[in-house]
């Protein structure tokens, strides 16, 4: 088979779809009402959190609940530096701060396995929350901070930029030797180490890359919220949501977490506005049902349905 026609066919249709979607997203503020732009920015935020979570936890199988910590570090960076430096630099610093924190935490903890790693990373979120709270009350004498206001279109475009860079990064990590190394760590860490992979370095660097994007998302989202305090910034919800969204979407393909996060965060918005008193109940039921009946997420369902389709065709001929 001619390899070039094979690849061009394989990439043409998805490439076109992605291009159309990107153009639609990039021109969104021109034709959509302001509310849609804000909603889209927060959906993109969840997608960024979820995809960056999947970069590390997807292939390695380490369940990290530290997302809220990295997100919160970004938020506090924006709160402290927001008025003093240009926006993009603040966002970059927010990402770098999370990156450094992740390097430190990663180097300390990545020898913890399974549930211990999950608990430790969750502890990190709570530690930062109460440490910052204590610091603020004792030394700055306030509980919260005001963040410099940025107009909604700017927030949207910065978030879109982060999203695009993240998708490209995630794609290349999956495709590279680095991604293969991660995959083999997830399947059997000891065997991976024996084949010459520097297991610790690969894990720590991937963990830090994923933290970088969470930090940038936090830094830009803080300008949208205008007021923050440790309870808002280090909310454990931001640790659990990416995990749930990734599982809901399915981690087998790159588009899985994207679709999962988009549907889930849109659903959250609808439920919050339509059923404020039953929002948590409905949300919880959807979560439990998704975990029970969709172990491989939406992607799994789609693949199953496709396979079933193919199977029938074969049976007929």
């Amino acid at each position: 088979m001619d390899i070039t026609t094979f690849t061009s066919k394989r990439f043409l249709v998805p490439g076109l779809i992605i291009l159309i979607l990107l153009v639609l997203l990039a021109t969104l503020p021109l034709y959509a009402p302001a509310y849609t732009v804000i909603l889209m920015a927060s959906i993109l935020m969840y997608i960024v959190l979820t995809v960056s979570w999947v970069i590390f936890s997807g292939p390695t199988g380490y369940i990290s609940l530290a997302s809220a910590a990295f997100f919160g570090v970004g938020i506090y960076t924006a709160a402290i530096l927001g008025g003093e430096l240009p926006l993009l630099i603040v966002v970059g610093i927010g990402g770098l701060a999370s990156f450094c924190l992740a390097l430190l935490v990663g180097a300390l903890t990545l020898r913890l396995k399974g549930i211990y790693f999950a608990i430790f990373t969750f502890g990190l979120v709570m530690l930062l929350r109460y440490l910052v709270l204590w610091w603020e009350i004792k030394y700055t004498l306030t509980r919260g901070r005001f963040v410099i206001v940025v107009d909604n279109n700017t927030i949207y475009y910065v978030m879109l930029g982060i999203f695009v860079v993240l998708l490209i990064t995630a794609y290349f990590i999956r495709r590279s030797k680095f991604g293969l190394a991660l995959q083999s760590i997830g399947e059997n860490e000891e065997a991976a180490a024996h084949t010459g992979i520097n297991v610790t370095m690969v894990k720590v660097i991937t963990f830090a890359i994923s933290a970088f994007f969470m930090g940038t998302a936090g830094a830009i989202m803080a300008t949208r919220w205008t007021y923050i305090d440790p309870y808002i910034a280090f909310n454990p919800l931001f640790s659990f949501m990416p995990v749930l969204m990734a599982i809901f979407g399915g981690m087998g393909q790159l588009y899985g977490p994207v679709i999962g996060a988009a549907i889930f965060s849109y659903l959250e918005e609808i439920l919050l506005t339509e059923f404020p008193y039953y929002y948590m109940l409905i949300f919880g039921v959807i979560m439990v049902v998704a975990i029970l009946y969709m172990p491989n997420g939406l992607v799994g369902l789609i693949q199953k349905w496709r396979k079933g389709d193919l199977g029938e065709k074969h049976a007929n001929t």
Binding site: I115, I119, Y130, L133, P236, G284, M287, V288, I291, P295
Partner: protein, 289 residues
């Protein structure tokens, strides 16, 4: 000086008693049923609100409520395990997959239970006065309700330990904790034992909620804080070790009380610092193997 030390120590033990009871429940659920129950605190909240309702509406003595709250929460936990977690366990490919899926499922449960409580009991902070008299212990004053709480926590902890160590059912539970597959081959009805353990764990949380409601104000969002404390204590004592959780609870209570004495704002921070250092140095906990 002696009085302050006594003050701090007793306050720590009083706090530790509740922590121990909460953590034992979680330890049972994780150690045997392998469910790291993020909604553990919600069962505490349900226990607390049931007691509050029974006391303020029907005038039933909170301590007598034990015979109602304990079984009611037990049944909720038992049914949940029979329906939800048994299904998850059977459909999961590995025990690791089950652990992470059940952890996420309990996060969904947290939302469900909390929302039902909000609908049933509202979002207000509730409380009632019961046994609200001071007792003098070597110069330091303590509420009688808190001493009763400590007594009950210790009694329930010991009773459960004896149940595990001396009865046939206890033996089955310990066997299931060590190796569920082999225990099943030896004739232990695994699904039944795991559901019972989850129910017992929930029931302990409910009783802890009952005791908490006697001493502190309660509200529908109180659960997560206690879940986190329970997780810390369980790791401190060693995942799955019941005596470990019991001792760990008192240690954490003492630490909290000592730190509160010097710097109140850092009490929770100190919990996490101890917790994270312990995870790094000795992840199996104080009594873990």
């Amino acid at each position: 000086m002696m009085v302050t030390i006594l003050d701090v120590v007793i306050a720590g033990l009083l706090l530790g008693g509740i922590y121990a009871l909460i953590a034992m429940g979680l330890s049972l659920q994780y150690g045997v049923a392998r469910v790291l129950n993020i909604s553990h605190g919600e069962f505490i909240m349900v226990g607390a609100f049931l007691t509050w309702m029974l006391y303020t509406v029907f005038g039933i003595n909170p301590l007598l409520c034990l015979v109602i709250v304990g079984p009611v929460v037990f049944i909720i936990g038992f049914i949940l395990h029979k329906t939800l977690f048994t299904r998850l366990r059977i459909s999961s490919t590995s025990s690791g997959a089950f652990e992470s899926r059940s952890l996420l499922a309990t996060f969904g449960l947290l939302f469900i239970i909390q929302n039902i409580a909000l609908i049933a009991w509202g979002a207000e902070i509730r409380g009632y006065a019961y046994l609200n008299i001071s007792v003098n212990l070597g110069g330091a004053l303590f509420g009688a309700n808190r001493l009763v709480t400590l007594g009950f926590a210790i009694a329930i902890g010991l009773a459960f330990y004896i149940f595990l160590a001396r009865t046939r059912m206890g033996k089955a539970i310990r066997a299931a904790a060590q190796d569920p597959a082999t225990a099943g081959l030896m004739g232990v009805n695994i699904n039944q034992v795991l559901a019972l353990c989850f129910g017992f764990g929930a029931s302990m949380a409910g009783i802890a909620g009952l005791l908490l409601s006697m001493c502190y104000p309660i509200n529908a969002a109180m659960g997560l804080e206690y879940t986190i404390i329970a997780i810390i204590v369980v790791v401190l004592g060693g995942l799955g070790s019941i005596p470990g959780s019991f001792i760990g609870g008192f240690i954490l209570g003492l630490v909290g009380s000592i730190v509160t004495y010097f710097e109140p704002g850092l009490a929770l921070v100190s919990y996490y610092v101890i917790f994270m250092i312990l995870l790094l140095v000795r992840p199996t906990g104080i009594l873990g193997k």
